[in-house]
């Protein structure tokens, strides 16, 4: 069953071609990663799906309905936690519910509790570490009623240990709540560890070079990192990325 479809999406800013013929078919409940170098226009792709921008050509469908240039259909988690400093943690995670007018305080508290943030519910974001802020930001995305989550390099700014922790945490939550996730990253291991499928993306303009299906069983544990097959896939993905790079510089 197809859930999110991008059909030949093209986008340019002035004369700069950013996205070229992006076509994606994503099934409900899938964990998809878009893997590519920084500055390859992946975030622009999210802004398009989120309806913030209008593509030059192409269409975007969600659940067989066209959502090209329509806002409010997806749930989004940006690179930075983007919590509002004047709201407590609880008020922050309930922000999206407020927009649609449906407040479920009990549910919010329960989820913060599960995320290990229960003692910070009434604290302001400045009292939290970067990792905790990102967790809250993810809970905020989960609490919106939307079925699809767009995560834009959510762990990019975290240190290696926190990042590994957060990946495992994210997987556990995802296995519980089964949302469709589109995940942007420039980290090969992260993409392999988390996703069902990976789309490798090139730079200038961004286009999809390769689709890789990740065969590892779920639930996944951190020891997967040292699995023989894992390293093989890592090598393979690396060579695709390098191909895209070489093409660009020659």
């Amino acid at each position: 069953m197809e859930y999110l479809t991008l059909d030949n999406v093209n986008m340019s800013f002035h004369s700069h071609h950013v996205l070229k013929d992006i076509t994606l078919h994503i099934k409900k409940g899938e964990f998809i990663s878009l893997l590519g170098p920084s500055g390859s226009g992946k975030s622009t792709l999210f802004h398009l799906i989120g309806g913030l921008l209008h593509p030059d050509s192409g269409h975007i469908y969600l659940n067989n309905k066209e959502i090209t240039n329509k806002k409010g259909h997806i749930s989004y988690m940006p690179q930075t936690p983007s919590l509002f400093p004047w709201r407590t943690l609880l008020e922050n995670v309930m922000l999206i519910q407020e927009l649609s007018g449906k407040k479920e305080k009990e549910k919010a508290i329960a989820m913060l509790h599960k995320a290990g943030l229960s003692s910070f519910i009434h604290e302001y974001p400045s009292a939290l570490s970067g990792g905790m802020q990102q967790r809250a930001s993810f809970i905020r995305a989960l609490l919106s009623e939307k079925d699809i989550l767009l995560l834009d390099e959510p762990f990019g700014a975290l240190d290696e240990f926190t990042r590994l922790d957060m990946q495992q945490w994210l997987l556990n939550l995802w296995e519980q709540y089964k949302r469709t996730i589109l995940f942007i990253t420039h980290n090969i291991e992260e993409a392999l560890f988390l996703s069902d499928r990976i789309f490798v993306i090139s730079k200038n303009p961004a286009r999809i070079i390769k689709e890789v299906i990740v065969p590892f069983n779920r639930p996944r544990q951190q020891k997967l990192y040292f699995h023989q097959g894992f390293l093989q896939y890592k090598q393979e993905l690396y060579s695709y990325l390098k191909e895209g790079f070489d093409e660009f510089y020659h």
Partner: protein, 239 residues
């Protein structure tokens, strides 16, 4: 400390150089005078206090309304913003007699004068606050389906509060100045009136008393606003 030292130096140099009272009275003399005429001073002080308070409140209301209007309607921002700057280029002292000709000696022209000096810092700081909303937060709100109203009240407005408070602090000090100027031009009571009477009869000590009270009043306003700001922003985890 520095203030105290300054007062001591002042006191002793007045005695040492035998400066005439009408030229520069000593601090002791000024305090003496303040205590002697405290009954009349109280009337003048309260009158100026309320005048500047009303003017300040009116200026804040007008300043906020203009800021919100200009921000929400981009067409207005382009056309009216330059006009606003022009209003600040006219010296109040020139405008005041005109307003008295148009509106008489009542409270209305005085409020207009105070409002004119007050609203500008508030409008400018508020608009700055609105436009300096972080882009990523704005994108986030829009992608999550927030409409213009929600974007404003949930993001841009709270974001501009620290900016608004710096505007308010400037305006509060201005409002006292505006009140005194408006009283110079004709009023029954107020520190401005007390001051004109004192200076025309060479009661320099009383002029200093007036200056002292104006400073006190400005400081009082400033402190009150700082208190509110502290409660609003520091308590809300901003700093």
């Amino acid at each position: 400390m520095v203030l105290l030292l300054l007062l001591i130096v002042w006191q002793y140099s007045v005695i040492y150089f035998k400066v005439e009272d009408w030229l520069l009275p000593s601090p002791m003399k000024i305090v003496e005078e303040a205590i002697l005429s405290r009954e009349t001073l109280k009337v003048h002080f309260l009158s100026t206090l309320f005048l500047s308070l009303y003017g300040f409140l009116l200026g804040t209301a007008v300043g906020l309304t203009i800021a919100i209007l200009l921000h929400r309607v981009s067409f207005l921002k382009k056309t009216i913003y330059p006009l606003l700057i022009l209003t600040q280029n006219i010296p109040v002292i020139v405008l005041a007699p005109l307003l008295i000709i148009w509106f008489g000696f009542g409270i209305l022209p005085k409020l207009i004068i105070i409002k004119l000096v007050c609203f500008f810092p508030i409008t400018i700081s508020c608009i700055d606050g609105f436009t300096q909303t972080p882009t990523e937060l704005k994108h986030y709100m829009k992608m999550s389906g927030a409409n213009a109203r929600q974007l404003f009240w949930k993001l841009e407005w709270p974001n501009s509060l620290p900016f608004l408070f710096s505007g308010l602090k400037i305006s509060a000090t201005y409002s006292v100045m505006g009140a005194v100027i408006s009283e110079w031009l004709g009023a029954k009571s107020g520190i401005g009136v007390y001051m004109t009477l004192a200076s025309s009869s060479f009661r320099t000590d009383r002029v200093f008393v007036a200056i002292f009270f104006i400073m006190m009043l400005s400081l009082l306003f400033f402190l009150v606003i700082q208190l509110v700001e502290h409660w609003f922003i520091t308590k809300k985890g901003r700093r």
